[in-house]
């Protein structure tokens, strides 16, 4: 995967924008939850996981203590599992305290059809019974196919269906950026 945005790609969020968006999301989570009690952040691999960790760092700097962070792989719960060759599984790490009775915030990079989140809700159902489940995404690009919405959104990004939204994050990729790209003719 090329580390840098393709030439015809337009940068919608740069590194500074992403940091500010995550800071705002962190504060919104704390405001909504009235503090960090009982919070568990679960990133959806691959790029939801570093985002969850960054939100957790900001929450820790505000509240003064760390909230549990983990990851939740949804591969086996996808509704298109049978349509493609069997895919490699990604890590699921549930924090030692589990999710029962907790407020779980699912974190993903892009919210699109909503099918990944549906799969995540099913996956979560097999792990425990949270008190509430919320959704934080860096980008909401619209075009929902299921009745699912995000509670915390970094940026609402109106797109056409043929466009591609790409999130790169330091740690997985080389730099922080959200780019949008029309499909080449």
């Amino acid at each position: 995967m090329p580390a840098h945005p393709d030439t015809d790609a337009r940068v919608v969020l740069d590194a500074g924008d992403i940091q500010r968006a995550l800071t705002r999301i962190s504060h919104e989570i704390l405001e909504r939850n009235k503090g960090a009690d009982d919070l568990v952040l679960l990133g959806i691999p691959s790029r939801g996981v570093p985002l969850a960790h960054r939100i957790a760092e900001r929450i820790a700097s505000v509240e003064g203590y760390a909230v549990p962070v983990g990851s939740l792989d949804v591969t086996m719960y996808r509704d298109d599992l049978r349509l493609k060759p069997a895919r490699a599984l990604l890590p699921t790490e549930i924090p030692p305290g589990g999710v029962d009775g907790k407020v779980v915030v699912l974190v993903d990079d892009v919210l699109f059809s909503g099918r990944t989140i549906r799969a995540a809700l099913d996956a979560l159902n097999d792990i425990g019974r949270p008190q509430a489940v919320r959704l934080a995404v860096l980008v909401d690009r619209g075009h929902r196919e299921l009745p699912i919405r995000a509670d915390f959104v970094g940026k609402n990004l109106p797109t056409s269906l043929v466009e591609r939204v790409k999130v790169t994050l330091d740690g997985i990729d080389d730099l922080d950026a959200v780019t949008i790209q029309g499909v080449p003719a």
Binding site: D73, M76, Y77, L81, R82, L83, K84, P85, A86, R87, A88, L89, L90, P91, T92, I94, D122, D126, I127, G128
Partner: protein, 317 residues
């Protein structure tokens, strides 16, 4: 198309690494309250066992059920197989029942290959042990157990020294392990009396030795094999006592191992023959863990063969 798992030798390094990393994720499932994943809902897995087996069949059954597949157990005893039905007619019956995968154990080497390549069935065939030929999922679970202890869970055994000791001649486990461990980068040494090494072993990607005491101090893992007396028709060694003294693993020999070296056995073991009770029950022994890992590895194999629109691993044909 890759549809079957017939031989450990069919697996490329990428295939083997994919199975091991998938198994590592699935291994975590054993610690969760709900030990179930939906990946194979509505798929049917048939366990077709022409030879007696308890642990392998149960392991495959648990693996398939944890992936939500429907499981049909078909054992030779008490079925039409004991009334003289041929492999072909059994296969046609399974095909008519709509099996998506057939897990087969057979006393004849090559039976799973025949089942897979005859055109009798469209399902995936997984070899669960054929005669003295191969047992690829056992090799995968052995390799998985080794990577957890020797490589920090990374799916490689590069440069690790593995000793496989005992009745190599009658062991399908030894052949599958030799092929797979070599693929994963390990250096394998087979240790056995000359009478218990198969003809043509020089074409395997392994070293051989007749001297256990010279090999095991350098090994990172020592795998003891059962002496398969039920397959022996003739004198392969003078007495059990002599075999045990020269090729058995006892406390004295265990003391010469490196600190990190693990002791393995594919089971069922004969205490006092190839392994003494104090070794089998020691801290180094990972024999019980091998059984736990077996379920995770078989889940990985079934998921990768059946989970998607087409299999992600396995042999051509």
């Amino acid at each position: 198309m890759k549809r079957h798992l017939l031989s450990a030798g069919d697996l490329s390094r990428d295939d083997a690494e994919l199975i091991l990393t998938t198994a590592a994720e699935l291994r975590e499932l054993a610690d969760r309250p709900i030990k179930k994943l939906p990946a194979l809902r509505g798929r049917t897995v048939v366990n077709l066992f022409f030879e007696d087996s308890t642990r392998t069949r149960i392991s495959f059954e648990a693996a398939a059920k944890r992936l939500s597949a429907d499981v049909i157990n078909f054992a030779a005893k008490g079925s039409s197989l004991s009334k003289g039905e041929s492999l072909k007619d059994t296969a046609l019956t399974l095909e008519a029942m709509g099996a998506d995968a057939v897990v087969v154990r057979h006393g004849a080497s090559g039976a799973p290959h025949r089942l897979a390549n005859s055109g009798w069935v469209r399902s995936s065939v997984v070899n669960a042990g054929d005669g003295t030929h191969e047992h690829p999922t056992q090799a995968l679970l052995d390799a998985f157990t080794m990577t957890r202890h020797l490589s920090g869970g990374k799916p490689t055994l590069e440069g690790r020294r593995i000793a496989i000791v005992g009745d190599v001649l009658h062991s399908r486990v030894a052949r599958s392990n030799a092929l797979l461990l070599h693929t994963l980068g390990a250096e394998v040494t087979l240790v056995a009396p000359p009478t218990l090494l198969p003809v043509g072993v020089d074409s395997w990607p392994v070293e051989t030795s007749y001297d256990l005491d010279a090999v095991i101090p350098k090994a990172d893992a020592v795998m003891m094999l059962r002496v398969q007396r039920e397959r022996m028709h003739g004198g392969f060694f003078p007495t059990a006592r002599e075999y045990s003294r020269r090729y058995g693993l006892d406390g004295r020999r265990m003391a010469t191992l490196q600190d990190h070296t693990i002791v393995m056995h594919p089971g069922p073991m004969v205490r006092g023959m190839e392994i003494t009770a104090d070794v089998a029950d020691s801290e180094r022994s990972v024999i019980v863990e091998q059984v736990t890992n077996g379920v995770a590895v078989r889940m990985a194999v079934l998921y990768l063969l059946l989970g998607g629109s087409e299999p992600a691993v396995g042999g051509e044909e």
